[in-house]
Symmetry: C2
Subunit: 335 residues, 2 copies
């Protein structure tokens, strides 16, 4: 049987939530990944050193694992340099949300006034703390990310030493930014390497494929695949796996988020293998992130094998992407 | 209180379904409309004279009303002239579906080979039977209607005497066709005068606003409003009101269709009033259709008044557009 080994896979964009949901989903990530960048959009958001330490403690308690590191983030607001110095050793990045743009982002940034943001962003730049950005305007849903490109440009040129990660990019416009600005990086999800808007609303409406940013056009999918499959050195895997209770997905007014954490590596193997690019997956799913963030995760080896695997209907009550469907790769020793 | 009177309102694109659903929804249309063009996409589709007569009988039985005419349609396939002559007095139009493009359309046209279709379309042209078309390709969901324009052009130029109705148009490209080809007409729904894709998937996912063709971009909405509000003489109101049981809308894999029949006239009054165009509504909702189809519906007067009206959560078990929301116009004497 054909197998493929991944070393220290990293999920550089992960929603672990809190409470019961945290307990339900955290073990699914710690099982296969060596580490994950944990998003801070709780209610209330993670914005103090005490918040960071307490949340990290809850994550480790929910899924004790010596071979998994939860890389913590703060919710962006204007912080002073003294605070950032005090918290720098406990976080890997700060995550910026435009206000109201996605789940639990109401306290985010409502206008991109660079002068108002300068002290914080300059301090982050000085201290080497990367800025992770959910890059969407409040415009028309298919244009939101493309419209955000001038904000990325403004940030990138105003703070040329600040590492800026365009999170979960979905458009050819964002892909094109990678080679234009030295300090712009990106994460890409696995679902945005598989689906377009057609899969969400082209046939029946599919709530489990509904996310923000929404999946875009075929030419956008092609652009994302081109940099992911080549493991462009500025691109990292970040699942944006975003669990919601089943009743919040399968109802009138379905919440945004695709839950992929437990099947992400299997799907990535399938995609990279289909395109004959399995040898690039290691860089996409770990090495690039290690280089960009300067992290050294604990050793972990994950072996996948090419065989039919039917995605479970749910994992601890959360419905994953492709629930009930057969995919072509599986974790070794996992039925 | 401000009131507005409509005479003989017509819904030139209506799904009444069959069986229990027919009994549930038909009285909601006969209550306010003088007539409706009834779509033939039942299972199996309406495609014989006996089918037409039997279905009309079931409609009249479900909602007996001396002041409502169900204008019947056949499901397009290649028919010979003798058959079309025999059925011409019982139908107002023939409805063409590309195969598989929407609910119960599997038996539709799978390739637009004009020579193969010529005998039927020429006979329809000779007999004065209009062709109503669901104009979408099987391409990317946001492009399907625009991609269909060259098929409309081919049909319009190949059969210059055939009246062709572009059903439920949603794009600026379709609007532009009206003034390019003399024999192209269009229906427009009320929901496509109100929503864009933003309302469907821009915030939470809204299954009750999910339909085919899907609502498009803001500039498309503007184009539709421009011809509807001016009551462009080649444009008619057709609700495409498409009821589904609640559980089929609010579930994983939601069916396409917006149910508007019982609130369409109220919403139209609100839209036309907001733009100061109430005086054009009569033409949009009746006169244009009478002229285009050459029909003379029974006299009916419907009085609407400007007051808050909370849309019911459901009508006989079917959830309407804007359920539970307040709108600004109501039917006189209806709470």
């Amino acid at each position: 049987m054909k197998t493929h080994t991944l070393l220290m896979p990293l999920d550089m964009h992960l929603h672990l939530r809190d409470g019961v949901m945290l307990e339900n989903v955290a073990p699914l990530s710690t099982f296969t990944f060596s580490g994950a960048l944990v998003m801070p959009n709780l209610v209330p958001p993670v914005e103090t050193l005490a918040d960071v330490r307490a949340y990290k403690g809850r994550i480790l308690a929910a899924a004790p694992n010596d071979f998994f590191e939860p890389y913590m983030t703060l919710f962006y607001k204007n912080y002073d340099k003294a605070f950032l110095e005090s918290v720098a050793d406990d976080i890997l990045a700060i995550k910026l949300y435009p206000a109201g743009i996605t789940t639990n982002s109401e306290g985010g940034v409502s206008s991109f006034d660079i002068e108002e943001m300068r002290p914080t962003l300059q301090a982050m730049s000085d201290l080497g703390i990367p800025l992770c950005v959910h890059g969407e305007t409040d415009g028309f849903v298919m244009d939101r990310e493309a419209e955000f490109m001038n904000i990325y440009e403004l940030l990138a040129t105003s703070f040329p030493e600040l590492k800026i990660v365009m999170e979960h990019i979905t458009t050819k416009e964002a892909v094109a930014m990678l080679d234009k600005f030295e300090n712009l990086y990106a994460t890409i999800t696995v679902h945005h390497l598989l689906i377009t808007l057609d899969d969400v609303v082209g046939g029946m409406m599919q709530p489990h494929l509904f996310c923000k940013p929404i999946a875009k056009r075929p030419e956008d999918l092609d652009a994302l695949l081109s940099v992911a499959l080549e493991a462009h050195p500025k691109v990292m895997f970040g699942s944006d796996s975003a669990p919601h209770p089943q009743h919040k997905k399968e109802s009138c007014g379905c919440a945004a988020g695709v839950f992929t954490a437990p099947i992400a590596l299997q799907l990535l193997c399938e995609i990279f293998d289909q395109f004959g690019k399995l040898s690039n997956l290691q860089a996409f799913v770990s090495d690039n992130a290690q280089n960009i963030y300067g992290i050294c995760p604990e050793f972990k080896e994950v072996i996948l094998e090419q065989r039919a695997f039917v995605v479970p209907d749910n994992y601890n009550g959360v419905v994953p992407m492709y629930a009930g469907k057969a995919i072509g790769w599986a974790l070794q020793d996992v039925e």
